[in-house]
Every structure is written in C-alpha cells, then in structure tokens.
C-alpha cells in the first residue's frame, strides 16, 4: 500500500480549506528507464473527498497530474473536530484512504 497522504483541513473564516499531499509515482507510461525500457503507466485515476460522509469533491485524473500530487480546495459547513476523508484509486486498482480532523 502506498505511503499515507498528508492532509490538513483548517477552518478559515466560514470555509474549511483542505490541503492534501499524496504519495504516488504518477507514471505517464511515456518514460523510459535507464535500460531503455518503457516504464508502464501507473497513476491515480479517481479521487474522492468526503466530510461527514458527504462528498465535497470528486475528481478524475490522468497521468499528466504531477508526481506526488498536491491538491487544495475549500468547502463550507464543517466545524472543528469534523472528519475529512480523502480516497484515491489508481490505474492498477490500488487504493488509499486517509482522514484528517478539521482544525479550528
């Protein structure tokens, strides 16, 4: 399983700002290794973010998203102590889910 995501969810004004750093190679399938062999594509395809079980963001990604993807977005209606859960599924079917607590 991939390394954990780093997630920060912080209340600023009446919004919660979520910043996520994921650990993933995001291989495009276009690169060749030192031996000249093509490195196969392997990248996150779907991302979902939920707050108290309700989806606050969903995304579909291609291999052009940078390695170790960074994502920031913001939504309303959360309070300190709520949980934000981020999940991803990649092109090999691997998954990762991590959560963070909303900080004041």
């Amino acid at each position: 399983m991939a390394d954990p995501m780093r997630i920060r969810a912080k209340i600023e004004g009446d919004k919660t700002i979520v910043r996520v750093l994921m650990a993933h190679e995001m291989e495009t399938g276009q690169r060749r290794d030192a031996a000249g062999k093509v490195v196969p594509a392997h990248f996150i395809q779907e991302v979902t973010a939920t707050h108290n079980g309700k989806t606050v963001l969903s995304a579909q990604w291609g291999p052009a998203v940078s390695k170790n993807p960074y994502l920031q977005f913001q939504f309303s209606g959360a309070k300190a102590g709520d949980k934000v859960v981020i999940s991803w599924v990649d092109s090999k079917g691997d998954k990762r889910t991590d959560e963070a607590t909303v900080a004041a």
Partner: protein, 159 residues
C-alpha cells in the same frame, strides 16, 4: 478435469478499474450509472479541447474571462510540477477541468464540485513544453473555456 479458464483471470490481471467495472456490468452485478462514474478513459485519451468536451458529453464551448488563475505562473521553471490554481466565477459551476494543449493527451484532470464546495481547485500538472492551458468549466449544463499560455523552460514528461 478440464483446463482452468484463464481468460477471466487474465482480464482481471490486466484490467484497469474500468475494465473490471465493465465485467461486473456485463455480469449484471452493477448497473451502469448507479455505481460511481467509471474513469472516463475516452476523455483522457483524446487531443484537443473540442474532443475532450465531446467525450465529456458536451456539445461545444463558449469563451469566458470569468475565472481567475490565482497563483498560476506564466513561466514554469520545471515542467514536471506546474502549479495550477483555478477559481470559476461563473454561477452554478458544476465542474472544473484542466487541459494542456501540447501534452500527449489534452485532459489533465477534472473536478466535480458539489454544492457547498467552492468552485476553486489548486493542483500541479506536468507540461511537456510551452502550451496553452485551458480551464474548462461546466456551469448550469453548459461548457465555458478560459485560456492562458504557460511557458515551460524545462519540459516535464521525462522523455
């Protein structure tokens, strides 16, 4: 005993999430449309804004200046990590997608914005070379495009 039918096993091994979902759909275990939308392989394999819009189910686009690019740079030092920040000021924004003209496949990422979430995303994309970058906004069922050029000094596809 007969030979083991390896074709399903092979399909599972090589299948992406889309293929596996397709198998379940074919077997009647998952109805298309009720499960989450499968990864839109077509949208991520075409070139050109119009083809991306078509594969997303849209009919055409209207140009807009009603977005802000935030801290998105005009010149990116490292094409492997180009920060993109898009805020849509168009009412009823449902989704934001990032497209890069000169990449092998135009669509980099697409975000669905539910009510309650700001129509604003920041993320990082790879750009192979200097290119027009488009923010494709779906709002109230219609598609809008805002474009800017980002110069890349060192291309980011690793080729």
């Amino acid at each position: 005993m007969g030979e083991i039918n390896t074709s399903r096993r092979q399909a599972l091994k090589q299948g992406s999430a889309t293929a596996i979902l397709g198998m379940f759909v074919a077997a009647g275990l998952v109805r298309p449309g009720t499960a989450h939308a499968a990864w839109n392989q077509a949208a991520f394999s075409v070139k050109g804004v119009d083809n991306v819009v078509k594969s997303l189910g849209g009919a055409g686009t209207a140009a807009t200046k009603d977005i802000s690019w935030g801290s998105t740079p005009e010149i990116a030092e490292n094409g492997a990590v180009v920060p993109i920040s898009v805020t849509s000021n168009i009412p009823k924004t449902e989704s934001i997608a990032i497209l890069v003209d000169k990449n092998p496949n135009t669509l980099a990422a697409s975000f669905t914005i539910p009510p309650g979430t700001d129509p604003n995303v920041s993320m990082r994309v790879k750009m192979g070379e200097t290119s027009q970058v488009h923010a494709l906004i779906k709002a109230d069922g219609k598609y809008f495009v805002a474009t800017r050029e980002i110069k890349v000094t060192l291309g980011g596809c690793g080729g």
